[in-house]
Symmetry: C2
Subunit: 495 residues, 2 copies
């Protein structure tokens, strides 16, 4: 019997599920935005840090091996050594866990306080969904080793500067501040000592921006029918017991002073609550001294995101301009950055508590916002395309593009098969070229070149009659020596 020759099937040309590629302007727009952000962070004294993408699972911490494959939520693998007992390694899932490792590892060589920023991809081993990828960018700035709320205030100021630097105008954003200690004060006033019940209240508060005041009241009390029709059990507090929480969440006044007054009332005699209110007051004062008034950074107790996680000040940057959602309804763009104070950054490694505060910008969200504002994402202008009329005169065409590039104009020679001239113009079209340059033997002899304004040409093509189209006023003849200046004129006129 003859063995069948099995043909190896061709591999599929596909990214793994949940991954994607980024092309052209998608890459450069993000790079430009991150570079502007880095500029602001640098001006504030923050230093860049690029930690390795791969960490030991042990150092990442959150995902310690408890089964054979400790890859819950992360992409992890075991190093192969002779005994098969290699370390488990994993791709970082955020930039904070690596910061903790870096700070613990290098703390004797780093300044204290240590201000650092980090930008780069992180990976999550999660079920991908529409618009939800398993590799995405994060952009963090943190101050490690500074207990003072001056560090928090500084980060809020920096966040405000950053948004304006990348192109969000003042008035289109607001940085809102809250403080976990105020909430702790409220819980103290309520007499809630039971940890489980406190956790329940925290979880409920976290839903405030979804369910609103009435929803929070229901969830703190008996429970609530949610939008899907499911009944969510409540925490079981009496209505009066829920009052301080609701008072806290809704204590935003006409100005910071008004808010502070309401918060003082809400925390009553609680020392930790008073401390929280004092911290908010200090932050507002520090920011006002630098010119950041409530039109940019404001105390807002309805900021609840992360209140369960952070230990002191929390902050969130929200874009306030309106966009249309999928169903065509107007809504505010919403949050693009958030952060706060957390004080157990390196304790896992060193046993010491080290105070830290930081902010994370949602890179994709902010880019989307800039697109909404027309700051990025208009179709990128392609290169000038110099067509090839005569295969043997490639050197002439290369000389033309070299001239254009030296003048700072993006330009390329058509490098495909030049036989079909239509294909060359189709190529220029696909490249979003502003201008095509044509130099045949006849033009060469006469010392001229044909210049085709492709943007104007496209506009004419859309509306033109056959006669108009034939006249082709978007194509000109210019002296070879005037080529660069003529192309510059055309491109200036297009933009």
């Amino acid at each position: 019997m003859m063995a069948k020759v099995k043909k190896t099937p061709r591999p599929k040309a596909q990214t793994p599920k949940g991954f994607r590629d980024y092309f052209g302007a998608e890459v450069s727009e993000r790079a430009e935005m991150l570079s502007k952000i880095a500029g602001v962070y640098h001006r504030y004294g923050f230093d860049a840090l690029e930690s390795s993408a791969v960490e030991t699972v042990e150092a990442l911490g959150k995902f310690l091996p408890d089964v054979d494959r400790p890859n819950e939520g992360v992409f992890a693998w075991q190093e192969s050594d002779e005994d098969g007992n290699g370390d488990w390694l994993a791709l970082r899932y955020d930039l904070t866990a690596p910061l903790a490792r870096v700070y613990a590892q290098h703390r004797n060589d780093l300044p204290t306080p240590y201000r650092r920023f980090a930008m780069g991809p992180v990976w999550r081993n999660e079920k991908p969904g529409p618009g939800r990828y398993r590799q995405f960018y994060q952009c963090d700035a943190d101050t490690v080793g500074a207990a003072s709320v001056a560090a928090d205030a500084e980060i809020c100021a920096m966040l405000s500067d950053t948004l304006e630097e990348v192109g969000i105008p003042r008035g289109d954003y607001i940085v809102r501040i809250n403080n976990r200690k105020v909430l702790n004060g409220v819980l103290e006033v309520m007499g809630l000592q039971d940890d489980a019940q406190r956790a329940d209240v925290l979880r409920t508060i976290d839903k405030f921006d979804k369910v609103g005041e009435d929803g929070v009241r229901e969830l703190l009390g008996k429970g609530r029918l949610d939008a899907s029709g499911a009944y969510i059990d409540g925490v079981g507090l009496a209505s009066e017991q829920a009052d301080p929480v609701v008072a806290f969440l809704t204590s935003k006044g006409a100005d910071n002073a008004g808010t502070i007054a309401k918060l003082r009332a809400a925390v009553g005699g609680s020392p930790v609550g008073a401390q929280g209110v004092d911290e908010l007051q200090q932050m507002a004062d520090l920011l006002a001294a630098q010119g950041y008034e409530a039109d940019r950074i404001v105390i807002d107790p309805s900021v609840v995101r992360g209140l369960g996680y952070y230990t002191g000040p929390v902050f969130e940057a929200e874009l306030t301009f309106e966009i249309l959602d999928e169903k065509g309804r107007k809504r505010q763009f919403g949050s693009v950055a958030g952060g706060g104070r957390y004080d157990d950054l390196v304790k896992r490694f060193t046993g010491q508590e080290v105070p830290a505060t930081g902010v994370s910008i949602g890179v994709d969200r902010l880019l989307a916002a800039l697109r909404e504002k027309g700051r990025v994402g208009s179709v990128e202008r392609g290169p000038v395309v110099v067509t090839v009329m005569d295969r043997d005169r490639m050197a002439d065409y290369q000389a033309i593009v070299a001239e254009l590039r030296q003048a700072g104009i993006r330009a390329e020679v058509y490098l495909g098969n030049p036989k079909n001239f239509g294909n060359q113009l189709k190529y220029a079209d696909r490249r979003n070229s502003p201008v095509a340059v044509i130099e045949g033997a006849d033009e060469k002899d006469r010392g001229v070149v044909q210049v085709k304004d492709l943007i104007l040409g496209a506009r004419i093509a859309e509306n033109a009659t056959l006669e108009e189209w034939k006249e082709r006023p978007s194509q000109f003849e210019v002296a070879r020596g005037d080529l660069v200046s003529k192309i510059r004129d055309i491109m200036d006129g297009q933009s």
Copy 2:
């Protein structure tokens, strides 16, 4: 018997073996260099591409699973699905394999030819060594779908422009060109038809830049005692048979025309050899038409790196200035980039041969070269540090830094415990601060601030007598209103 309570040991704060972190200027200098390179590539009509860091092992290709864990050379893991039959995924080990996958996947939406550049980390699961990391940057530019050597010439011109753009002056580098087809012609002339023997000759040629002409002769003949004392078996050719190979490798003439003439002689009547020589001639002509003469880009048949891998033109950028090696001996800095033509990029996926040519810059090598030339890597100037003399006047200090930042000056307030003033100056020192600002209660009352020139101060401290040190001429008092301009003066004087 009581169960022992086992205390969880603290995790080690360490990068995995072979990985490292990059701090401050290391990150920003690389980012700046890559940004300049991207600028040149963009001007040449190349588009950015950022593919996912994770690929299927199937798409990466080189490392198809043949055993349980197909992670030879790459970091790979198996996706977990319900049946335990998930795809094998891996971190990319270069930027070319992903380009092949991307081009095959998106070829209907991409222009043809497709010029793209890519910059980013790649990962190798290799034994780490000194200066040899398992994550490092690559920076590639490739043109896919262009068969013409105009595409190769363009990449050489771009490489030359790039080196000058990042700070390598003309005269300190040379781009050298060779062509695999010329070598094929030489092999043809030699009458070497046996594939194994041809491969042996190719392997030997690859050692030319290490062992030189005599070494190659020995290795083509009987064999050679290498530096370590081991005897390396030779290919077994007769001396006359080796002549054409050596003639090829040493055929560099006084100028390109001289080299071409010698190469024509070396390939004799071989058609493929003649084609290779023609291609070199064409490239030289195209480059000369754009002003790239042999002082920047030169035909050099001694370029052998990659000659075994590429199918047509190969090129290499070498830095010609001298550095001292570990033993204090002078040597040329050497190669920082290389590339060439390869024509089977996407065949694995589509069955079609697609011509491609490209270059890869050694990011770390080029950065090291810029450091040698003093272009980067002088110690980065830190921020101005505003010290805290009076904890309650933090708002005043924040106002000072805000003013400095608005003037574009990098500045920060000391955010550690301000009690020990010496610690604040030590901190400023560790931060490489150019200037410290001091405003105590007395200064505040008098409307002045103390400004300490830390660079001048450090210089004085190194050489000063006690008397000079006590005079401390590096510390000045300035009116509060003059602070920004005074600091700018000092910093201008320092640089």
